[in-house]
């Protein structure tokens, strides 16, 4: 059974986690590329990344490519499991709806 995760469920963070989870394990995504994909500002993305990083769901690495600073983001094993559990919880909810024709008990 899945586990609903309120931190991940916020739409922007949900998309961040979905994007990072779609990459092969160990891969890192460029900050600018992620920002462009999500269509949000640097500050907004940084704020969401900070929350995910504090939860241990992502790793943020600042480095240089030539003389240009780059920030790369990767999902952690903990984040991968939390995201998968969250997706499973969402699917469980739909499965319950399909089987019982009614909503599951609220918490």
């Amino acid at each position: 059974m899945g586990e609903f995760n309120e931190l991940i469920h916020q739409p922007v963070r949900l998309r961040i986690m979905a994007a990072l989870h779609a990459l092969p394990p160990g891969s890192q995504l460029d900050f600018g590329r992620l920002r462009d994909m999500l269509g949000i500002t640097d500050g907004n993305l940084a704020s969401h990344l900070r929350k995910l990083e504090e939860a241990g769901y992502i790793l943020v690495e600042k480095t240089f490519v030539g003389r240009r600073p780059r920030t790369y983001i990767a999902i952690t094993d903990v984040g991968r499991k939390a995201f998968e559990a969250h997706v499973e919880a969402l699917r469980d909810l739909l499965a319950w709806e399909g089987e019982a024709g009614e909503q599951p008990p609220s918490p």
Partner: protein, 196 residues
């Protein structure tokens, strides 16, 4: 942070799953297609011209020279695209690190060993083996990149190679120019047009 039963309706859950799927699809597409189109267009053109030369040029020595020039241009073009991607895109640092590069290096080494020891005398058989060998590389690369398109392309062209060799051996080179090179070019063009 709270973890509990979902405090949301099935419709909200459905929307969230759709958002996840759309984002993951967008990411996979970017990850798989970043630069791949250029490699496919490049090597599709090499195959189109090389196999076309095999069919239309009578002199074997000339055919060999044409293939040598095309392969060298293909390798130089590949190196340029890799360099250009490294300089300009910088979108993803792959988790498999140098595995892909080492795969292609060992792929080339083993392929050359097989051809050296097997010494196929029949030119069509040699072309068929080299083409299968190339498609094996595409399929493995597709698996590493998690690209269904690249795996599917590799398997499709493999089927073309086998069918052409078994059913139309006299026209195998023309078949490969059109369906082998053509498939790579079409796939590369499709990626470029759908991605931009």
């Amino acid at each position: 942070m709270s973890k509990s039963h979902p405090p949301l309706t099935p419709d909200e859950a459905r929307q969230a799953l759709e958002l996840i799927e759309a984002t993951a699809r967008q990411m996979r597409r970017f990850a798989a297609y970043g630069g791949m189109a250029y490699f496919l267009l490049l090597w599709g053109t090499v195959w189109l011209l090389g196999f076309g030369a095999n069919h239309f040029v009578q002199d074997p020595a000339m055919r060999g020279r044409i293939w040598t020039v095309l392969d060298l241009l293909g390798l130089a073009g590949t190196g340029y695209v890799v360099w250009w991607l490294h300089k300009t895109r910088q979108g993803i640092r792959w988790g498999f690190g140098s595995t892909l590069g080492w795969f292609w290096i060992t792929w080339m080494g083993y392929g050359l060993l097989f051809i050296y020891f097997a010494q196929p005398q029949d030119g069509t058989l040699l072309s068929m083996l080299l083409s299968l060998w190339a498609m094996y590389g595409y399929v493995v690369s597709g698996l590493l990149f998690r690209s269904r398109l690249l795996v599917g392309l590799g398997l499709t062209v493999t089927a073309f190679i086998v069918v052409g060799y078994l059913a139309l051996p006299a026209y195998f080179n023309l078949w490969m120019a059109l369906f082998g090179g053509g498939s790579l070019i079409v796939a590369g063009g499709y990626i470029l047009s759908s991605w931009r």
